[in-house]
């Protein structure tokens, strides 16, 4: 056999192997298929695991039947890679016949799947994907942030708190040098600068910075009132340790974006994390009954306090369950289902405060200013010390005006040049 024969044979063989033996069609009345995507391998594997745990916990508690229909959760690993995420999204929708998609953790995987959602029309819910533009300049009607947030949304109230309540006037920012860091930092920097505060220096460290020494030295030289840090994952852990080891903990106040004192970071830390102030749409130390109940259940099930991932995916599960009840289980009617999702007002969720969506598909939150404190059992957690009600992704600015400014980046932080 020569090459041509072989190629032809192979072509024939591959085309037959591609033929689907069983074409599944969604039968109304059958189970509602939920396509849950999370990074179970790759750089965000730890986060992905907690996301799946959070989502599953709800159904483990409340049962897998809503409005008379069984809920079937199909979990796919996006491998922390956008191209893989896209392929898995296709498989979930086209092969497994998922009724809607939810999940992904890294912004680029979410944006990739959002593009697929925009062309295929499948409802796609993003409790963690925080890339601002997904619900702003480049929004897609069927992509909704159920129990999610826009990156710059959460850090704005913190700037207000820093300026008005703590009377900080000079703040240095340090953030991971990629889009999520740029956006989180931008929300803080713009608000703080508009209030009249001074931002003499903005530092950008590459992802996976082992040594923050050079940055901390620069900060020390400037003697700011406070530092705003947006560091997540291992960077957050190293930053807090080095911040404390450098002796800055007692001389300069430390403010942070939600992830800096997330359970994923502070779980393994001790005194170095105590007293750090961050802002978020939830706080595991909140004494609202729903939050307390969730934290206790989670602690019992997994022997650790729930992180942002668990909070977001658990709350997203409540959100979707409410919407499914509203449409009486008929999720196949996409416009009606999406409408129901948009109309849900989350009242009794672990997030602690009522939540509803703005018309761009992003939630409006009561945002907590949180401080890291020690629990009686020795674990660290975030306790609310202040609440900012009704914070939208656009801050105090009208959406149309807001979206005229460019997206936050290293080059644009909305800081007024003095």
């Amino acid at each position: 056999m020569n090459r041509r024969q072989f190629v032809s044979m192979l072509a024939a063989a591959s085309s037959t192997s591609l033929v689907s033996p069983n074409r599944a069609f969604a039968v109304p009345g059958g189970p509602i298929k939920v396509g849950l995507m999370a990074p179970l391998t790759g750089v965000a594997a730890g986060n992905g695991k907690e996301a799946v745990e959070g989502f599953n916990l709800y159904f483990a508690e409340k049962g897998k039947t809503i409005a008379g229909r069984e809920i079937e959760i199909l979990v796919e690993d996006d491998a922390s890679n956008p191209n893989t995420a896209l392929q898995k999204a296709r498989r979930l929708v086209e092969e497994s016949k998922a009724d809607f998609l939810i999940g992904n953790v890294l912004a680029n995987t979410g944006i990739a799947v959002a593009e697929y959602a925009s062309t295929s029309g499948v409802p796609y819910f993003i409790p963690i994907i925080a890339a601002d533009d997904l619900t702003q300049r480049k929004r897609i009607p069927n992509v909704i942030r159920v129990a999610g947030f826009a990156a710059s949304q959460l850090s704005r109230p913190l700037a207000d708190y820093a300026y008005k309540k703590r009377n900080f006037r000079k703040v240095v920012t340090i953030a991971q040098d990629y889009t999520f860091g740029h956006e989180q930092c931008g929300g803080f920097a713009q608000t703080f600068s508009q209030l009249g505060g001074e931002i003499p220096l903005q530092l950008w460290n590459p992802l996976n910075t082992a040594d923050f020494g050079p940055y901390l030295a620069q900060i020390q030289a400037l003697k700011p009132d406070a530092v705003f840090a947006s560091e997540l994952g291992a960077d957050g852990n190293r930053f807090l340790k080095q911040w404390s080891a450098f002796g800055l903990k007692d001389s300069i106040a430390l403010l942070g974006a939600v992830n800096l004192t997330d359970q994923a970071v502070i779980r393994t830390l001790g005194a170095e994390a105590e007293g750090v102030i961050t802002s978020a749409h939830y706080a595991e130390g909140n004494d609202a009954p729903a939050t307390k109940a969730f934290v206790e259940t989670y602690l019992k099930a997994y022997d650790r306090l729930p992180s942002l991932m668990s909070f977001s995916f658990y709350s997203a599960a409540i959100w979707l369950a409410e919407a499914i009840k509203k449409v009486d289980g008929k999720v196949e009617d996409r416009p009606a289902f999406l409408k129901a999702v948009r109309e849900v007002v989350l009242t009794d969720s672990p997030l602690g405060r009522p939540v509803h969506l703005d018309e761009y598909g992003n939630p409006i939150y009561d945002i907590f200013i949180r401080e890291v404190k020690r629990r009686p059992d020795g674990r660290l957690w975030n306790v609310p010390i202040e609440v900012y009600p009704n914070v939208s992704q656009f801050g105090d600015v009208a959406p149309e005006t807001y979206m005229k400014q460019p997206p936050y980046s290293r080059g644009f932080q909305g800081v007024k040049k003095s």
Partner: protein, 318 residues
């Protein structure tokens, strides 16, 4: 085997590929499109790896540059088809620049130099946020209405695959293609025969880059999304693995490699999250059983069983 039966068999192969959308559901049709797109990339890379004897680790970057170019062009309001031409041109120009820098080296030096060049592109895509969207990447709906259905898109990809495969086949079987093989087997002898070795390698690199760019454009149209992971080292490595597993220097081995890797990754990931482990074992097994790749293996067997020696097959063992 006569020329006629070759033509007939090629037609049968094409007919089989053309029948895919009729039998496969949309997901499998999309998967087949993806295989053909990576097939174009692997065939392009094989010109360099299998024929010019220069394994490159920057083809992912060339591929991704084309994807970035067309998505950027369309997202800033440009027309798709002009964007396609610009993207292929951008990839070709990038390949030319890389070629100038890299063709005088061979072996491990060529590998490392192309690796470094590819990493530069990746770094630029990651950091030039205002244009590339940084880590988040860029999205734009590229496909015109008549190409939105998986079937229609598949046929377009298939047509482009056949056309580019035919062109590449023509290139490697032309006198120029033979001189590339001469480079692979003995550069000093080619130089002694009066060939301008760097120029030959340069032209081979640029042709390879052009088709890699074409694959990048198709990939951008397929996904409507591009991010630094499309220009990253892993993309280059996966293309190189497709070539090697299918059989370097066999041209069409690349399609087999693309098909095998894509299908195995897809099916195994249904069963386990550790699918990359299975792929790794598959690579090791292939290298132990068939160091010349799958197509190379069958071709060698066909020869020992008295089949007619196919062109170049015996030269491949060096």
């Amino acid at each position: 085997m006569t020329r006629n039966s070759r033509v007939i068999l090629s037609l049968v192969g094409v007919a089989a590929l053309a029948a895919v959308p009729a039998f496969a559901d949309t997901y499998r049709t999309n998967l087949a499109s993806e295989i053909l797109i990576f097939g174009v990339l692997a065939l392009a890379l094989d010109i360099l790896v299998g024929y010019a004897g220069r394994p490159s680790l920057c083809h992912g970057a060339i591929f991704g540059t084309a994807a970035y170019t067309v998505i950027y062009w369309v997202s800033t309001g440009g027309s798709l088809w002009l964007g396609v031409i610009l993207a292929v041109a951008a990839a070709t120009v990038l390949a030319a620049v890389f070629a100038v820098l890299a063709v005088r080296t061979t072996g491990a030096y060529f590998l490392l130099l192309t690796l470094a060049l590819g990493m530069i592109v990746w770094g630029v895509c990651l950091r030039w946020t205002s244009v590339t969207g940084g880590e988040n990447g860029m999205r734009a709906t590229l496909r015109p209405d008549y190409l939105t259905s998986p079937g229609a898109f598949y046929y377009m990809v298939l047509a482009i695959f056949i056309l580019s495969a035919a062109l590449m086949w023509r290139v490697v079987h032309s006198p120029f293609g033979l001189s590339l093989r001469g480079l692979r087997d003995s550069e000093s002898r080619m130089r002694a025969l009066g060939y301008a070795v760097p120029l030959q390698a340069f032209i081979g690199f640029v042709i390879s880059g052009l088709f890699a760019g074409l694959a990048g454009v198709l990939f951008a149209m397929f996904n409507g999304f591009v991010s630094p992971s499309s220009v990253a080292l892993s993309q280059s490595v996966s293309a190189l693995l497709m070539v090697i597993i299918g059989g370097a220097g066999t041209l069409f081995g690349g399609l087999i490699g693309a098909g095998l890797i894509t299908v195995v990754a897809d099916r195994v990931s249904v069963v386990t999250d550790r699918w990359s482990l299975v792929l790794g074992l598959l690579f090791i097994a292939t290298m132990m059983v068939a160091p010349d790749g799958i197509l190379g293996f069958f071709r060698a067997r066909a020869m020992t069983q008295g089949g007619l020696p196919d062109e170049s097959a015996e030269q491949r063992r060096t």
